[in-house]
Symmetry: C2
Subunit: 566 residues, 2 copies
Amino acid sequence: MTAHKIVVIGAVAAGPKAAARARRLDPEAEITIVERGEIISYAGCGMPYFISGAIKELRQLVCTPTGVPRDPAFFQATKNIKVLNLTEAVTIDRTAKEVEVLALTSGERRHLPYDKLVIATGGLPLVPPIEGVNLGRVYRLNHPDDAVAIREAATCGEVKRAAIVGGGLIGMEATEALAANGIEVIIVEMLPYLMGRFLDPEMAAYLTRHVNAKGAHVYVGGKVVRLVGDAEGKVTKVITEWREIETEMVLLAGGVRPNVRLTQEAGLALGQTGAIAVNEYLQTSDPDIYAGGDCVENVHMVTGQKVYTPMGSTANKHGRVIGDNITGGRTAFPGVVGTTVLKVFDFNVGRTGLSESEARRLGYEVVTSLAPAPDCSDYYPDSELVLLKLVAEAGSGRVLGGQAVGAGDAIKRIDVLATALSFGAKAADIGMLDLGYAPPYSTAIDVVAHAANIVENKRAGLVRGVSGADVKAMLDAGEDFVWLDVRSPQEYEQSRIEDRRVKLIPLGRLRSRLEELPRDKPIVVFCKVSLRGYEAARALAGAGYSDVRIMDGGIVAWPYEVTGAA
Amino acid sequence: MTAHKIVVIGAVAAGPKAAARARRLDPEAEITIVERGEIISYAGCGMPYFISGAIKELRQLVCTPTGVPRDPAFFQATKNIKVLNLTEAVTIDRTAKEVEVLALTSGERRHLPYDKLVIATGGLPLVPPIEGVNLGRVYRLNHPDDAVAIREAATCGEVKRAAIVGGGLIGMEATEALAANGIEVIIVEMLPYLMGRFLDPEMAAYLTRHVNAKGAHVYVGGKVVRLVGDAEGKVTKVITEWREIETEMVLLAGGVRPNVRLTQEAGLALGQTGAIAVNEYLQTSDPDIYAGGDCVENVHMVTGQKVYTPMGSTANKHGRVIGDNITGGRTAFPGVVGTTVLKVFDFNVGRTGLSESEARRLGYEVVTSLAPAPDCSDYYPDSELVLLKLVAEAGSGRVLGGQAVGAGDAIKRIDVLATALSFGAKAADIGMLDLGYAPPYSTAIDVVAHAANIVENKRAGLVRGVSGADVKAMLDAGEDFVWLDVRSPQEYEQSRIEDRRVKLIPLGRLRSRLEELPRDKPIVVFCKVSLRGYEAARALAGAGYSDVRIMDGGIVAWPYEVTGAA
């Protein structure tokens, strides 16, 4: 019997991982990886940190932790895997079971026979169909070569302002990276708020405040119409529907689309998202061809629907699953829950599952909570705030998703929620989790449990919440209500909402000053984070007030203007 | 109808929480809390940080985040709850449904009638039955008064050395706290290693190295026999089975036992752990009496057995559940998974579920993995190591527990595991979790998934692991084997195991130097963390070597002596 022949197309994440796993399972197989680019097995997610200067040398992104470059010689020596880099896969002949490849330097063409083929062709940057995208100093961030070019531009001394087109994942990471080089950054986002594919508006508002505080400008709700250059062909302006922005550099950060040309030409099925359709074993419509990484679609474990969620971590898991299945195994990939985390200046930002907007769009009836809380005991020196939003199904209480933003450790909470979502957790389950508690790490009731408890209180009818945006709508409609602030006079001095409806009665005085509150008007109660607000609302309900609502997340999460010193 | 009468005994964590929750659910109830001490609702877990000086004032432990003291006036004003502090509950008359209380200042006795009674009497420090425990400068750490006394001693200038009797949770937190005051700390632990109730020996060894590096001394495996004092009655020596330790201060940190005198005298049932027996609704053997916090036992969700696991976070959850159930609700407390986390100098330490030792003692057949890995991308500047151990049931692959120790973010991984354990996760589930990935937060395959993958590789027979302790036993027995180090010569120079069996062949050379390895001897392979070791072992297996084992966790987790510069 001749050795099993495995060909892998693409050598960034899913491809090399599938090959390495296959090698460990099948010592005899002939394994070949074909890669169009020169460098392979690089840490693409590290590129923003190379641009920022946090990572000093590009080689750190292509070396093992002990400093050995992951190049073709490394794959040959350590894994007995042949890597053909600077080689393009031109066509797949499924009948002959061969891949035609073209060596880009020599021009030589060859046919690589396969028993099992792995497609890991990754993603391509989405470039808007506008004039000027090929001007000088207009960049994408898809490959380490891009990162090198951006870092050169950012450090050449000629670029003082940069415009980032797209306030999503790459755009936000790049904002921090460019700002770290002393560049004034302008973010231009077509959607009405930042991170619109990941966060709900009030969470994005909290993030935007931080981005502004760090000196970056955010222009949302306007499309870029064209880019304008100077006589030398260098970009000088971004023209949007609403304004002209002077700039010396542009990063097109409009997201990623699956690279499926080869797959399509081979007659393999694409899914409804436009990415390669695969079954749970990551098999394409041809059972001898597998696909993984940024070129395939995934099952969303919360909705059961197909989604396109390119992510380096998912690509690595795909690689492992494919490595099993091309060597005789039968491992299933369970899907994703849409977890996305990123650092934006000093803020940690994450989300998992569905946002409220997504959930509503999909027809779920939802209950949400918005909990600003310290990430560790408030008396512990390093305590920082996390604003956590939980989205649950109203009827069943099942958690649909969570978002967390803040200087505090938001990411731990997102990982807890991502884990819980994988098991179909209900909000009540989250409230009872036996999470690690010690003052440097959490509060006795962790923010994630606290948010779950609020959801349960709302479901039980103990609390009626109203979002900041809904209160704003009430104001805009000129509605009459009592806007009850139950904080202390000192807190009121420091920051307050200026409106004639606002009435300050500290919680400790509320029970003795009930006569000051009318019984015939709605009462919207809040405090700093709405814990005291909750206490107050229960006291009012107990005293017979019938229309009492709590402003979700208190003044901390109020996304509009606040007056005061702090 | 007269108002529902609720009496709560104990005002630290579970008690006030139960009362506050009950108030929110029942605005009419008469709620009274009885507390022996003066201060109430304090953050007991913060005491070590008050001793260390990280928390400047004791009042921070008894105030709300906005600085309002949680005293009886606060409970009255904000929650309409009466608190009788400096008042002892003397007897419970279950027939009359009354609690006899004694006001400690006035000596007055009263009878408080109840419809529902809540016992939240907490825990008491375990004091060893030895001579000298009442000498001067011998402390326990059970109450803020203790913390004040310890801080006074630690900062008075007379104490240069302190002995801590007990290397468990409180002992380790106190070690850091006293060392922060410039005191030389000696830890005396009866068990053969630190944190013996929580960690397995190799994890404790990794922690002990750090504690030693920070200048604290660790004496394990010897009981304290007595304490010796000077003429003034101040402690001067700790006498153990094996040595005499000079000291100027002693902290008895032998753990906590449930405070059950009152409960026992009332004829209520205790459980097999000696703590109060409660059902899932936290009802005692008397259906009108509930109990929660450090005085009750819990169900361990992994084993289904009753355990005594006092923890502030659990007490708070108990309070919420009890608050529901004493006001007509029917909320169940699902139990705990034994999560414990703590900070020890610069190390984060945590565990959840069962340790390997516990699991074996309970009769489980287990597979374990030991994964040292960076807590975020190795190229990212702040990357730190986490040593993570996973314990799974051999047959089913169900995860039984996990431990994590290191300068890296161990706690996030413990929370992920604690969540997964609550849902009966298998190792394969952990490997496929959609955890948040970005270079500042994790690696593309997070350490927790990596550890789960190793478990699965072992279960599939791809890897045979051998622990450091087992290799040591092989050495001690004079066994002949090849101890194959597949790191680079540079790494070997920096730190190496000195033994005639050690053979260095870097992974990249292994496939071309196979003839140097005998086929008739066992091979124990390792590298820094045993990732390359795994690659090497698979290469050897592929080349027909039949007895190849990987040393779990590599040289990083080797708990014995290492030679070299680093």
